[in-house]
Amino acid sequence: MQRVVATTCPYCGVGCGIRARRRWDGAVEIAGDPDHPANRGRLCSKGTALAETLGLAGRLLHPLWRGRPVGWDRALAIAAAGIRRTLREHGPDSVAFYVSGQLLTEDYYVVNKLCKGFLGTANIDTNSRLCMASSVAGHRRAFGADTVPASYGDLDEAELIVLVGANAAWCHPILFQRIERARAAHPGRRLVVIDPRRTPTADAADLHLPLRSGSDATLFAGLLVHLADAGRIDHGFVERHTTGAAAALAAARAAAPTLEVAAEQCGVEAAALRRFYDWFAESERAMTLYSQGINQSTSGTDKVNAIINCHLLTGRIGKAGAGPLSLTGQPNAMGGREVGGLANQLAAHLEIDNPAHRDLARRFWRAPAMAERAGLKAVEMFDAVADGRIRAIWIMSTNPVVSMPEADRVRAALERCPLVIVSDCMRDTDTARTADLLLPALAWGEKDGTVTNSERRISRQRPFLEPPGEARADWRIVAEVARRLGFADSFAYGSAAEIFREHALLSQFENDGRRDFDIGALAELDADGYDALAPVQWPAPRGRPEGTERLFGDGRFFTPDGRARFVAVTPRPPLHPVTAAFPVILNTGRLRDHWHTMTRSGRSPSLAAHEPEPFVAVNPADTDIADGALVRLASPHGAAVLRLRLSPEQPRGTVFAPMHWGATHASDARIGAVVNAAVDPLSGQPELKHTPVRLERRRTRWQAFLATRRRLGAASLDGVAWAVAVTPYGWRYELYGDERPESWEEWARRVFPEARRATHWLSYEDSGAAAFRYARLVDDQLDACLFVAPDRPAIAREWLVGLFAEASVRALNLRLLAGQPAPGSPDNGKLVCVCRGVGERAIEQAIRRERLDCVEAVGAATGAGVTCGSCRPELALLLRRVQEPVGSD
């Protein structure tokens, strides 16, 4: 195996190139790949910390049937027999696959082919449904295909960048830093952020429009009207290359007849809105980047088209520095769309509703049982599992019990489903707990294949680690099951390269430029060519191996008449309005340093340090509950208990909670259980950004902080609610409970993991304050500690966690139980810069001491923010807070 391997990051859709180096001792060093066009060597905090996530702890290494290890032969036979029986007894649509944007294109291709060509059902959907489906639907309506016209390079050219519903500073940091560098190099370029929350991204903007949740379509209708009225229509483009402009404009006028009406509907100041409209009108090179704030909506598709309409009207598409750009959330969301991983697609951008396309695929695959109609989209799919229409489901590389809306229902459905197959690289996930059959898949660093990023760039993920245990590539697992189902000839793949070639051949099969997705130029790659494949943007048809940076420059689209379509959009509010019982809107999303359901990022101590506990951000004016209290967030669908964080950045009437925590990291913080499952009628994407909820104080008898070198056994926390995060030397817990044990000392001795050597106990008990503190030392090292109080113990957690690094804490000894360093000694505070390990306290002190006034100066003084830049928005926030201390409002 090579010492340095170029590969692609497994996190977001930016698709950064990575160089992984195996050291002599087997350890892996991760660095950005300077040759990769997506990132040019840069990495964000998550990418930088990848090496911390590579250990085998917690990995699924052997097939398990109902909890017992079985050999692969047996496991595959069980899977095949279960699928065959279900097909025979209940028909093709009783079988389903729920797959993921973390699968490689090759894995995705094989499972999609099996499902739609050989099992005769299109019941395969992907977690991209939660992420990208509205963009796909919007693209198809406007362009006739799911085509992303622009490239990252356009960000360097744009005069105006509009970020809508995208906290790119946290969720797509490398692209955001690229935008920031371009702005720094070209004063006068503008960034407008449209987001209800004052996010770190919004903080960096020239203009932030904190629009009312769900009012995006009105805002862009108003823009369309303004562009028309300001004489910005590109009449030549509109007349030659589009249809439907008049109707779209009429609909926009009906929705937003004047700027004032638009401003009022969107809840923003008219002057600010006018500034945005003027800026957009005057910027020929304007780009609109959008993400989940647009997509995750019951009118997400309309919002996407409302945005595209503005670019079509001004002809700002297919040109350098112009166009809409959907930021994808997953490393291979785009690849999944290419192979048809969504239930309403076929393969290679063929349409399942198109008989000619079905016929084409049938012939190409020599398919015995083509699916004849679209399958069930994610939410419908789990509904069908719940009501017994689906009786066998195979879930790959994703964790719907955490990430789906109304996730309690999803869990209950899976628990009742006669056959649940889960292939994953992790042993314990919320979803794996519902599985009958667990199949060990390869993880990042072991897998071999390709992914496609937000700008259509296909990059290789190359292995640099040996496959552990009995884990296998997903495509190989699927092909083995296909073989046992009698389709050996059609699934006789020997390598990922073979699959990729077939995928490329299908993309050019009877294409002739009619379909956007064509990578015919790559259909002839031999094994070495595939190994060496440089990142390339599709389309790359035969004869154009260099790929395509930008589409639609020629004004030709993939609709039957070759014209782009305006869509007449009538804005609709979110489906569920707030009510007296549920008066607040819940918005969900990502944090800077976590990813999806934390199965990977949750293993990194550096990443976990940023936000070790699940929380809900609430505007201080909206509640009289104190900051740091526990609150219960309830909707008609379910509830979660979270730490209250008062945040002036949060708009009134709304709350924000991160999506990441499931049962593996907290007992009661799975926000998916609270979120409603209303979907966009076209895209099927759920409205994850808008659920009416109620907030109430969660009273507890006690709360505690516990840190230990080894993870606690699940059973020992029986009857106690908890949230856990990994630390450099173990685990940290926040606990709470409704019943106080008779003796905290006995409780601690029972709950702490058994010590291997003689221990030394320190204790503190305040009978009146109901406070109890306990520490266990082994060989003079801190081994475990517990701090109990009626409310959240006010202690210096980062300091305590840091003590686990000390070879001896005897000098400190009882002082340890103070829970904070002696006055005058250093306490780093909450970790801000993960790369350099710089804490909040140190940064605040540097700002005060040296009177720092900009992020660059903070970087020079403390080292924070100079590596990956992900924390620069937070540095800016700290600067602001230190300079103008927040009042009591």
Partner: protein
């Protein structure tokens, strides 16, 4: 003409009054002092280190004869006063030495409680009160092997520790289940016992002494359960009682001690009392800090200023055993209405307990680390509401203003 001040008792309490009087009004009195012991004033607190061999007699002497001379004080040492003639304002010693007074200060201290058990008068059975007792113990340690200390209080433990340092095999017989139960709770008592056991002390407790055996010298101590503990030396350290015989004989009102008011004046307006012999607000005090507070008030009145009152003291104690850090003050047991904060490290032998009432410290027991003791005593005395820094008080942490006061203090 100068007025006459006579002091009965040449110990620490009386001498502190004399010092104060000399400081406030050096010309006011002709001073005469009677001391039963043949020494100048010495630091009785340091008898234990003297016994243990950590200090010499010279080291513990507070006022030598030159000092008395230099201040024009008449010192009758080795002369115990046997009578007060209140009518004539005169005191008389056993040898007939007499002195007239305008003001009389009684500072007769206390006597060890000698248990009224058979054999208590045998040679080799002593108390632990003065330099003579120390000398007897030292003599015994040179010739004999076994010592029994009756009483596991502060004094008994210090005696036992000193004797073991002098090479004797020492057993402490204690009536109660907890050592120093006046000052310690059970937790700290256990730690103390373990620590002393490591130094070679043996404990028999709870146990009651019923007889001291021996013919011409003590040989054993018999316990109520029938056990006999070998003993060549028995130190009675089962408590002290105020030495009030002289005052009682003079008809002064006494209860446990000589009853004084808030100015340290007895029922005879010419006679004052301070120290272990005095009973103020129903309490007697055996520790140093209260005696000094009393002395200050008493001197204030003796010089005629008349503007100080003694409100009673907060008792605090420190065990003077090398390597054992122990501090105790106030209510150490708690009980209904009290809250406790307990910090402990059983391996290193650190135990700290604060007893709180109404968010104020009512008592403190510190074992192993006693540095914050004086601070807690001040918080107790000033009745400081600690609710704002309760979580840090055990770790010596206080808000900035309190911190400032502590540093200044």
């Amino acid at each position: 003409m100068r007025r006459k001040l006579v002091v009965v008792g040449n110990g620490m309490a009386g001498m502190r009054v004399v010092e104060e009087v000399l400081r406030l009004a050096p010309e006011l009195y002709d001073i005469t002092i009677f001391g039963a012991e043949p020494y100048g004033n010495y630091n009785r607190i340091l008898l234990s280190p003297l016994l243990a061999g950590d200090v010499r007699v010279d080291d513990i002497t507070l006022h030598d004869e030159d000092w008395y001379r230099a201040h024009g004080i008449t010192l009758y040492k080795g002369k115990a006063v046997t009578a007060i003639d209140r009518a004539r304002h005169e005191v008389r010693a056993a040898d007939g030495t007499a002195a007239r007074y305008d003001r009389l200060l009684l500072a007769t201290g206390s006597l060890p409680v000698m248990l009224p058990v058979p054999g208590a008068q045998l040679p080799g059975v002593i108390g632990f009160r003065d330099i003579a007792d120390v000398n007897r113990m030292l003599a015994a340690s040179r010739q004999h092997e076994y010592a029994v200390v009756i009483g596991g209080g502060l004094l008994g433990l210090e005696a036992a520790h000193g004797l073991i340092r002098r090479g004797m095999k020492v057993t402490v017989v204690h009536l109660m289940p907890t050592l120093m139960e006046q000052q310690l709770d059970a937790g700290a008592g256990r730690l103390l016992r373990r620590s002393l056991e490591l130094r070679g002390l043996q404990f028999v407790m709870p146990a009651e002494t019923v007889e001291i055996l021996g013919s011409d010298r003590v040989t054993d101590v018999r316990l109520k359960d029938g056990r006999d503990i070998p003993a060549d030396l028995v130190v009675m350290a089962a408590g002290i009682r105020p030495n009030v015989a002289l005052a009682q004989a003079a008809g002064l009102h006494c209860r446990r001690g000589i009853v004084v008011d808030g100015t340290m004046q007895t029922y005879d307006p010419s006679i004052y009392a301070v120290g272990e012999c005095a009973e103020s607000h129903g309490r007697t005090y055996g520790l140093l800090a209260p005696l000094y507070e009393q002395a200050k008030v008493c001197a204030n009145h003796l010089v005629g200023w008349g503007c100080a009152r003694y409100p009673g003291s907060l008792a605090s104690a420190k065990l003077k055993v090398n390597g054992v850090e122990l501090f105790s003050a106030g209510d150490v047991i708690g009980g209904p209405g009290a809250e406790t904060i307990v910090l402990q490290d059983r391996v290193s032998g650190v135990y700290k307990k604060l007893i709180l009432r109404d968010n104020r410290i009512a008592g403190a027991v510190l074992y192993g680390e006693t540095g914050d003791g004086p601070w807690y005593v001040r918080l107790m005395r000033e009745r400081t509401d600690i609710s704002s820094f309760r979580h840090g008080v055990m770790f010596g942490e206080a808000p900035a203003d309190e911190e400032e006061r502590r540093r200044v203090a």
